[in-house]
């Protein structure tokens, strides 16, 4: 009897699992989108049901028409593609048109994009057609040269180590025999290990492998697109609206704020002239960055087509670090001090607390041979109530007004009881008013 019951429960559970929500894969026509988001390129896709694609104006964006499996992933609440199951690029043309203009037919074009090193981080370039192959090929040549240099380096290193072993061995032998080793020691002193070759420094983001797609670079406005198969038919689900937008403001300053006790949990202060409230338990390490302001909905949907956003709000988006800047700090006592960006190292605190602390990076001392953990502006914070105003100056020494912030240390306890009682003052006034009013009648 017990066995039958157990069997029944097992069968019930199996049935439940069988009917549980399983993402349903559906073959769909999609636009695979590689959109420039102001900082770098991010990928998303527009499935058949999506009616609008969002792109930033005046930059190259890449669209590819594909057939793939699409499914909804409830855990993250987003739509995904299963390109391992099906990833078929469609051949055909893309028609872009607006109410005012005649349709423009686009054919797929080869492209690559890359970011070259400079004072600023955003040095993006797009190479199209043959130029794309050339750029990529140049990069591949650099990589080949690098690997060749690495190979040579390892050979020389092996030679160097072999010679080193040989000399040290001979010194040992000669000393045992009581012979002079001066010449060998001289040779040992002059011996230098081979220098390790550096990877190509020309790029911060090297040219991506050359791909083929529709390159879309449009001015601000609303457009429509549709994909035509080689035989001239409009692909079902390919007609979409394109909203091309631009930033409302640029060059704003945001700060990445790293508290001394939580360097893994930095926060950001993006609203210009906003106030940063801290409890004063630790110093702060700031990293200023340039930011541009975009429509919240447009930007979010440009980054991920099925995401949500607020159409009536503008948001600041982090773009790149402010290079070679300095920060002026004005505390309440009026003594202005200037800080510059410095390297810091995060050290594990010894003992049972398992904490860590941020200390100045000592390149030639105890941190020799290591890389700094962070580069930031160290802002010492008073442990008591206070106000610290900070201003940011760029590499030319010009103040960036949107970089002004206040850091306020708020006392932990405050005047809570007093504030609570103060809220009842209107009732007290009521009592007084009604008392005098009543007294007037009785008189």
């Amino acid at each position: 009897m017990k066995g039958k019951a157990a069997g029944f429960i097992l069968a019930f559970c199996v049935t439940l699992f069988a009917f549980a929500d399983v993402p349903v894969r559906k073959e769909e026509f999609i636009y695979s989108i590689l959109a420039f988001n102001g900082r770098d390129y991010s990928g998303t896709f527009a499935r058949e049901e999506a009616d609008t694609i969002y792109l930033i104006a005046g930059v190259d964006n890449f669209l590819t028409a594909k057939k793939t499996f699409v499914y909804f992933w409830p855990i993250t609440g987003e739509w995904r593609t299963d390109t391992q199951g099906l990833d078929q690029e469609m051949s055909g043309t893309l028609e872009v048109y607006s109410d005012k203009e005649q349709p423009v037919k686009l054919t797929p074009e080869k492209y690559t994009y890359y970011n070259v090193r400079g004072v600023y981080e955003l040095n993006w370039n797009v190479a199209k057609g043959k130029e794309a192959d050339k750029v990529r090929s140049h990069y591949e040549d650099l990589v080949d040269e690098y690997w060749k240099a690495i190979s040579e380096y390892y050979n020389k290193r092996a030679e160097y180590e072999s010679r080193l072993d040989k000399i040290t061995g001979e010194i040992t032998e000669r000393r045992k025999r009581g012979e002079d080793v001066t010449s060998l020691l001289e040779e040992l002193k002059t011996m230098k290990p081979p220098a390790r070759p550096q990877p190509p420094e020309e790029y911060t983001v090297p040219p991506v492998p050359v791909k083929s797609g529709f390159i879309i670079n449009l001015p601000v406005g609303e457009y429509r697109i549709r994909f035509l198969t080689p035989d001239g038919f409009i692909m079902q689900g390919s007609e979409k609206k394109i909203v091309v937008f631009e930033k409302r403001r640029e060059g704003g300053i945001g700060y990445e704020i790293i508290p001394g006790d939580k360097w893994t949990r930095p926060s950001e202060s993006k609203t210009p002239h906003s106030v940063l409230y801290v409890d004063g338990t630790t110093d702060l390490y700031l990293r200023p960055f340039y930011q541009d302001e975009f429509n919240d909905l447009y930007y979010e949907k440009m980054r991920r087509n099925d995401s949500r956003g607020n159409p009536n709000l503008m948001k600041w988006v982090r773009m790149q670090q402010v290079p070679e800047a300095r920060i002026e700090m004005s505390p309440m006592d009026g003594n202005i001090t200037t800080v510059t960006e410095e390297p810091f190292y995060v050290e594990q605190v010894q003992g049972a607390s398992l904490g860590y602390r941020i200390v100045p990076f000592d390149a030639e001392g105890k941190h020799e041979g290591r890389e700094p953990s962070i580069r930031a502006f160290h802002i010492p914070i008073e442990r008591e109530r206070g106000v610290l105003k900070i201003s940011l100056f760029d590499r030319e020494g010009k103040q960036i007004l949107s970089g002004k912030r206040q850091i306020r240390v708020i006392p932990g306890a405050g005047f809570k009881t007093g504030l609570f009682l103060l809220a009842f003052v209107p009732l007290l006034v009521m009592g007084v008013v009604l008392f005098f009013r009543r007294k007037r009648y009785s008189d």
Partner: protein, 289 residues
Amino acid sequence: MNLRIHAARVIARRKTLETVLNPGFYIAQTAGLLLGYILITGFTGAIDSSGFSFELNPVYDFVGRAMVGAFGRTFVDKLFSEGPFLLALYISFLPSFFYLSINSVFRFSFEKKVGAIELISYGPADGTSCFLASYVKDILLTLLTIAILFIYFAVAAFNNNIVLGSRFLYSVPLILFTSSALYAYGILAAVATDNAVSAISLYMGIVIFFLIILMGTFSIVSGYVSTLSGVFTRIAGWLSPLFYWNLSLTGVESGKAGFFITGIVILSVLTGIVLFASHLIVGVKGVRK
């Protein structure tokens, strides 16, 4: 002086005194300040070494999550970018605003029903004088409420080393002009209907409609609700004082003083138009009970 204005002034003084002698006014003020207290102390309790994080305080965690869900993170970040006072100002103002406006709508309908407006209209006054008096009373007591809130928040700000914030300061006049337009809608509801229940229902319907449009504007909910809200906004958004409130605040945020001033001017014009519409309705319907 224009007799109608003179009458409005005389009646407004009595209406103001009547409200000031009513415990409800003080209870609304206290409720507003207590809400402000909760928001301010909640904010200070949600600050640690890395700044403000609403997850650290149960009240803020609840409010913050709900707001992030409805309006998005950007909205919430901006709301608290200068401190708690912007939200506290609006939330704390609500009890007094609803008390004053609903009380005025109710009283006007009641006075019409019992013949008080008719009695006043036997003299050098008319229905317009009466509703203008009600409007002036609401404005005076709104100024008083804002002054009380300002003082309370200034004390709280000083005490906790928090700034009131530029958007808070801009919101102080803005809240007056916005509520002024909403009071005008209350008057319109009162003169257009024949009893207090209908008047209050109509007024609340108007306010809720405007709120839905506004929340729909900020909502990140997509699909049907968003589309519906968009349609409502296109059709009737221009009638809503909250639409111009938003325009002004957007101007403040983007540093465009012109937007702020334009919003305030339009709010004043809207108030005038709604009051004029009320005047016309009173003229047609009369003040007979």
